[in-house]
Symmetry: C2
Subunit: 200 residues, 2 copies
Amino acid sequence: MSTSSSSLLSESKKVPVGVSARHIHLAQEHVEILFGAGAVLTEFKPLSQPGQFAANETVAIFGPKGSFPKVRILGPARKATQLEVSRTDAFSLGLKPPLRESGSIEGTPGIRIVGPAGEVTVDKGVIVAARHIHFHTSDAERWGIADKQLLKVRVGGERGIVFEQVLARVSDEFALDMHIDTDEGNAAAVNTGDFGEIME
Amino acid sequence: MSTSSSSLLSESKKVPVGVSARHIHLAQEHVEILFGAGAVLTEFKPLSQPGQFAANETVAIFGPKGSFPKVRILGPARKATQLEVSRTDAFSLGLKPPLRESGSIEGTPGIRIVGPAGEVTVDKGVIVAARHIHFHTSDAERWGIADKQLLKVRVGGERGIVFEQVLARVSDEFALDMHIDTDEGNAAAVNTGDFGEIME
């Protein structure tokens, strides 16, 4: 770390907060089952991370106890299909997904996914996403933060919270943004566009 | 405060956590509109606070955008009807209730309540409950905590959180218990029966 301790102490480490509602990432083979042969996800609006987007397309998902008729797909297509829900959503669906980093889906519950052209049931892929911060490499270096480091981050006003175990993810491909789910956002009464502050 | 600073430092201040799902308190006049003339709430099971109980009776509630068909009533009847929802619930209902201490309902949204014998629409009473800890006077004295003091409380394991602005409520009528709502419980992945620790 080249950052001096004096700059660490003097600079407030403010991070924009993004509150993620339930959403799904799809493998291309599942895009084509759900939306038809040759279908590709189309961009509704860009997300904070470069190249990522909310798609125009949505799917219905069905758990053992409940369902959500319209779940937003985030694109582009990924290697594996992954549904990210809040713990509140998980109770509604009748599932007990573990807290996981995105992409870590071994041993997680499956889910039935229905699109306009077909449906697919995956045998794994449902997670509650572990809160994390995307750092561009330059932000991480400036603040002396290492990839995979666990941070404490304060957010919120009248419902202030310090989130512990916030996972740092560092890459040249990332833009600075803290991702929490709707339970976490509501518990702190924060919305996308608010700011958090890294405490340690 | 008679508590010495040495005992404050040496004793861990552990508090049981109760996660409150959406629920409603009813004025007796509304009990009778909803359940019939002369009706009284009947006990389904006792709550942590002496004399308080979850009632056998439930009601349906209807907001501008959504509804909940079965909301538990907590008894006994109170002076004013009050619906306590999570921020997640509030979005489903289409309401923006403020964060309030129980009993403080001036300027809050109203709600339509339907029971088996009738219905009532109140013009105020919907709140998101401010997190709080009930202390018996003896607990508060032992730990040097004053009524209305705002505390920081750590809860949770792999999803650990420090809740700030936790309101202390002290009375001879209370039993030690920390009350948070389902958003807060889910954000920290804690359940009723887990413990928090007062940090300061």
